[in-house]
Symmetry: C2
Subunit: 431 residues, 2 copies
């Protein structure tokens, strides 16, 4: 099930969307059975791009922030999903510790932390916020402009457990993508549930592994639905050992880009799409907020100036880029107030609980919207005026145009489950 | 977790309510652990009475109707709860059959059926409606005034399975309280999930057993919370072998009523309550919509006229009343537009998903509101204007005054789990 949110889609429903709407019971059953075999991450947000002819995830964030941007109506859904997650993970849970980003102190990020705290409090836990930033040495209350406040406490490591003064959590929720690597203070916490696990951290995770898993998921889903999985999947390739600074590996990268563009061109021809294909280059490792570069022609890489190259050479957090993910570019057809927009779907456990549009008025439909100037617009819940129409069959009258977003986002969530299973360093323990 | 609905409560928060609000994490954890041991019924509605000094359930309906009266915002919550229920009961489910009441064809009842169908459809099932009324011989589409329509099909029994033409459900949802007894067509369906089970039917279930289980639940909960369980429990007693028509057993009933009134009087004295105690007499078996009679003095029973007695002698469905449940009356302090109101809390699986007020402008605070002239007012979700107040701690600012209703309603749900376990005719099979 996907809540009925109002999307910016007003055009006719195309074949892909109609196929998903018609197959809703089969799709939901398919997910139910998948979740029996694969445990979803505690939470995730999937960034989607809808080109009209295809709809694909372009990244899956396992440390989602922006909970504060969601419509208020989603709160009960998030709480209910959090309850379901806790029941599975640790029904005896009393205390939950949230670990936020180390240095981010913007009011919007802290409002996100407050919202997460609120969700898990209402799910019936004592929730406190502990920083693993070594600079945080004493408890601090930070007031936010909206009237909320957050109390940030220094964490205390005692043997195999992490906690706060007089607070021993059974579950630790990471809202810190660990962009500079895995801190020792989080290692070997075998007595507590650490969610998501350390191998979901930004320096450990590889986007290429995620998209390989996503391709597998998309193929299986496509087979069930009877569609070409390309319609929901961005073709991806990995180019290892690229040294942007020294200019090494660039030729290899060019030929890989050429090869991928050729594949996309064939697909465009097959479907009669008259657009110019492009790819996006991203660092395979490192934070999702690291710059992504659109490339329409491999030759562009030769002409790259020193500035552009040095921008690609390190991640946002200063780590050197070695492997480059080449990903089919998916343009976005959606507009909110005439600005280019891409939907971001929020999930808690296996449930879709809300969505926002990331909007950037100064970017074009082929560009990355994760850039200064972007803003977020919550997707509202559809209300009765949009709901059943007289004379229509119940449930079919006003189609839920958010549904397909909820489906593709959950495919990305499922791919993350596959990914975390495949990369679990302790996997053999459970075999 | 209980969604934040707007109640009619505007007075100060009393001690009981404050205790529940403060203990929220402990209460939620207590429920989580209880639900590990006891499976909740698929759905239920709990009718509560709030006297100010005490809050108690007065009946727990295991075949709840009125889903159409709930606020529209609750739909996603109900769908998410239905998904969680299906995942536990039968994750492979494709088809669900709803069995409605046999003879009720009012638009409001059918709108309730449509809403249930919608909830389970959105949870990812193919849902059809099959009547077990032998009079329904062919498929019929009934149009409702609101533009919805419902297709009613005759059920087909084939060996050990029940279904429709070309429709073989794995789960059957009863929205029929089986007020005239268990029909043979529903017996021995060992291959399908029948929810709620047959021993929840109105002629099998005994209110006295439910309230005995409720007392056990209330005692355990009261101990955990450190409160006298009387504050959430209506004292009840059973008087067997009453023959209203012949006037037999009435004296015994009088002395039982006297004894119960004395108990209530002692409690009122203990708490300094200056109200006149009363009891409610109900048939121990039979539909919940069967008349309930308030009695302030056992002498009233002598003076009962023939008409009143013959009304008590048979249930709504014409079955003779034998055992009488004597229950402490709980007056209701709530008012909606100056009319006496009682909250009805809807639950799906273990989740509170919404509520309505049952309102009766012509009844007093001590009377049964289940009578002609009653209407339903949905409880709306609280929106941001009621939510966090500047300067207040998050989550504590605007107290959720629906919370205590959600707690007591879930205690009644839990008592139903105990009850159905204790009365399960096939229990030994699973031991």
């Amino acid at each position: 099930m996907v809540p009925h949110l109002i999307t910016a889609l007003t055009g006719p429903i195309n074949e892909l969307e109609q196929r998903m709407l018609d197959a809703m019971p089969a799709i939901e059953r398919w997910f139910r059975l998948e979740w029996m075999e694969h445990t979803p991450p505690i939470y995730a947000s999937a960034h989607l791009r809808n080109a009209g002819f295809k709809l694909a995830p372009v990244n899956t964030n396992l440390f989602p922030r922006g909970w504060n941007y969601l419509a208020e109506d989603m709160l009960p859904l998030a709480v209910q999903a959090a309850m379901a997650a806790i029941e599975k993970i640790c029904p005896e849970a009393r205390n939950l510790l949230i670990i936020p980003e180390n240095h981010t102190r913007t009011p919007s990020y802290l409002a996100n932390v407050v919202q997460l705290q609120r969700i898990f409090q209402r799910a019936g836990l004592n929730v406190r916020v502990g920083s693993i930033d070594p600079g945080v040495k004493k408890t601090e209350r930070i007031e936010l402009p909206n009237g909320d406040s957050v109390v940030l406490e220094p964490v205390i490591r005692t043997g195999g457990r992490l906690g706060l003064k007089h607070f021993d959590p059974c579950t630790i929720l990471l809202n810190n993508e660990l962009a500079t690597g895995t801190p020792g203070i989080l290692e070997d916490l075998y007595e507590q549930y650490l969610l998501p696990p350390l191998h979901a951290g930004a320096t450990v995770r590889r986007k290429s592994t995620h998209f390989k898993c996503y391709e597998e998921v998309a193929k299986r889903f496509g087979k069930m639905l009877g569609i070409d999985h390309w319609l929901i999947h961005p073709i991806s390739a990995l180019c290892a050992d690229v040294d942007w600074a020294q200019g090494q590996g660039i030729e290899r990268l060019q030929s890989e880009v050429d090869a991928l563009l050729a594949k996309v061109r064939r697909k465009y021809k097959e479907y009669g799409i008259h657009e110019k294909p492009f790819v996006i280059l991203k660092a395979d490792q490192g934070s999702y907020s690291t710059g992504a570069m659109p490339v329409h022609d491999a030759k562009e890489l030769e002409a790259l100036g020193r500035k552009a190259r040095s921008k690609m050479a390190v991640t946002k957090d200063g780590l050197p880029v070695q492997a480059v993910l080449i990903q089919e570019g998916v343009s976005t057809q959606e507009r909110v107030h005439e600005a280019v927009a891409e939907p971001v779907v929020y999930m808690m456990d296996r449930y879709v609980i809300g969505g926002v549009y990331r909007v950037h008025p100064e970017r074009s439909m082929n560009e990355n919207l994760n850039a200064p100037g972007a803003s977020f617009v919550p997707l509202a819940f559809a209300h009765s005026t949009q709901m059943p129409q007289p004379g229509m069959r119940p449930g079919t009258s006003a189609p839920n145009r958010f549904y397909m977003y909820g489906v593709v986002a959950r495919l990305a969530m499922l791919a993350s489950s596959y990914e975390l299973e495949a990369t679990d360093p302790n996997a053999e323990v459970y075999d």
